[in-house]
């Protein structure tokens, strides 16, 4: 068999989707999202020091449907990256490498991130909502 006909691994087109690869990809994707979120945090802080008018722009943007979508997405991305980051740190010290643990911890990251996001937004709206 010629060497070029050998299956390459892992090749996304032929690789069955599974929790191990999806959690890894989503960890990177949420990391990239959070960098852009960081730029928004920097912009908001500059507006806060820039004056009441600039800050009013930030709050009206944050309160619009698009702003809420971005804030909600940022919360989930942070929750996921935070939870899955704990998982990566535990794996760095050698814990959680059996397949059963790996799959279970992946689902903890996914479902836990949704729960954390819900908790944060319940807290936001019980504290007075977005201005």
């Amino acid at each position: 068999m010629p060497s070029t006909a050998r299956p390459l691994s892992p090749h996304l087109q032929v690789y069955r989707r599974q929790i191990q690869m999806v959690t890894s990809i989503v960890h990177r994707a949420t990391g990239i999202i959070l960098v852009f979120g960081g730029l928004l945090i920097a912009a908001a802080l500059l507006a806060l020091t820039g004056g009441a008018d600039a800050w009013a722009c930030v709050t009206s943007l944050a309160g619009s449907w698009f702003g809420l979508l971005v804030l909600f997405g940022w919360t989930w991305a942070l929750a996921y990256h935070w939870l899955n980051g704990i998982r990566h740190l535990l794996q760095d010290v050698g814990w959680g490498y059996s397949i059963a643990q790996f799959v279970r911890n992946g689902w903890i990251s996914v479902i836990g991130s949704l729960i954390l996001t819900a908790i944060v937004w319940v807290a936001v709206y019980s504290c007075g909502g977005i201005a």
Partner: protein, 130 residues
């Protein structure tokens, strides 16, 4: 790429620090900032939630409090540092054209560094009462 040269002493290979010429420094700082952010990100979200619905003056007053200003600056530095290190790995893995890869790395470094400077400056300006 002479890492398996039998005429080389092991120390020589260790000094070469691998193909990135950086040893484990990147890996370790990524982990240190990650551990810091485990705490600081929770603090930051709690601060944001406590400011939900707050007006301009009370948002400024909250950032100006020394406790908040210091932790905010710690959060911002750790976040942009961690973000730059992560983006660096993503670019190293997926951008294969050397010129484009270097351009992306420079842009990520400049943007993260400037954003860190700008946001820390903003917190300091509020905290020091300008």
């Amino acid at each position: 790429m002479n890492n398996i040269d039998p005429l080389r002493a092991p120390l020589k290979n260790a000094r070469g620090l691998g193909s990135a010429k950086d040893g484990t420094r990147h890996f370790i700082i990524q982990r240190i900032t990650a551990v810091a952010l485990l705490v600081l990100a929770v603090y930051f979200v709690a601060l944001l939630v406590s400011l939900a619905g707050a007006d301009y003056a009370s948002a400024r007053a909250a950032v100006a409090r020394p406790f908040n200003a210091i932790l905010l600056i710690a959060f911002l530095i750790a976040m942009f540092w961690h973000g730059q290190l992560g983006m660096q790995v993503v670019i190293e893995d997926y951008v294969h054209a050397p010129g484009l890869a270097m351009t992306c790395q420079l842009i990520v470094r400049f943007v993260c560094f400037l954003a860190a400077l700008a946001s820390v400056f903003a917190v300091l300006r509020i905290a020091l009462g300008a």
